[in-house]
Amino acid sequence: MDLSVIAGGIMIAFGALAAGIGNGVLFSRYLEGIARQPEARGTLFGQAMVTLGLVEALPIISIAFGLLVLFGVI
């Protein structure tokens, strides 16, 4: 088996794993914050979105590069 397939698989798998853990922690903290302080909903939503974007950027890019490696483009 070609090593690039394994490399692409590892990139996609770890990217998705990291995104799953990060998103889970963030969503739980976000809901907890809203439950504690419902009036801060607007501020919390904006900040949660920025943090979620930061958490998701790396896995999304790693998945894109993993697919490119998998297809043998890179």
Partner: protein, 139 residues
């Protein structure tokens, strides 16, 4: 207007500026495939961000109303959109360059961080001004 509405407007305006610049690049330079990849990646990234915001709002509403069956964050949908872009770049390498697609995929997230910095700066300056004025009035 709440914070996210401001972010969304800022991101949409800046994204449109980037797409316009990429369109000019596509029209008037030989970097057609790079510009096409960048536009495709940027559109996917914008979709991902707006979809994420919608899903977070749905989850929030469901948590507030204690709905028993919770919605997911739509991660698979976003990953499939990225895979769609990569497959398009793989299928049509002459028209869409993957070297443009990769930075395009990060565009929306980078714009979101820029929007957050800008919003914090915009919000912090009047607050500091009020504090300074408050101190003067006390003295």
């Amino acid at each position: 207007m709440d914070e996210w509405a401001w972010y969304r407007r800022f991101i949409l305006i800046l994204s449109c500026a980037f797409y316009g610049a990429s369109l000019l690049l596509w029209l008037f330079t030989p970097l057609k495939s790079f510009a096409a990849g960048f536009i495709l990646g940027g559109l996917i990234s914008l979709y991902n961000i707006l979809y994420l915001a919608r899903r977070v709002r749905i989850i929030h509403e469901q948590a507030a109303w204690a709905v028993p069956r919770r919605a997911g964050s739509g991660f698979v949908n976003r990953v499939l959109m990225v895979a769609f872009g990569v497959i398009l770049a793989y299928r049509f390498p002459e028209q869409i360059d993957y070297r443009g697609l990769a930075p395009g995929l990060a565009l929306g997230y980078i714009l979101m961080v820029i929007a957050a910095c800008r919003y914090n700066k915009k919000e912090r300056l009047p607050r500091e001004g009020r504090e300074i004025l408050g101190n003067h009035s006390e003295n």
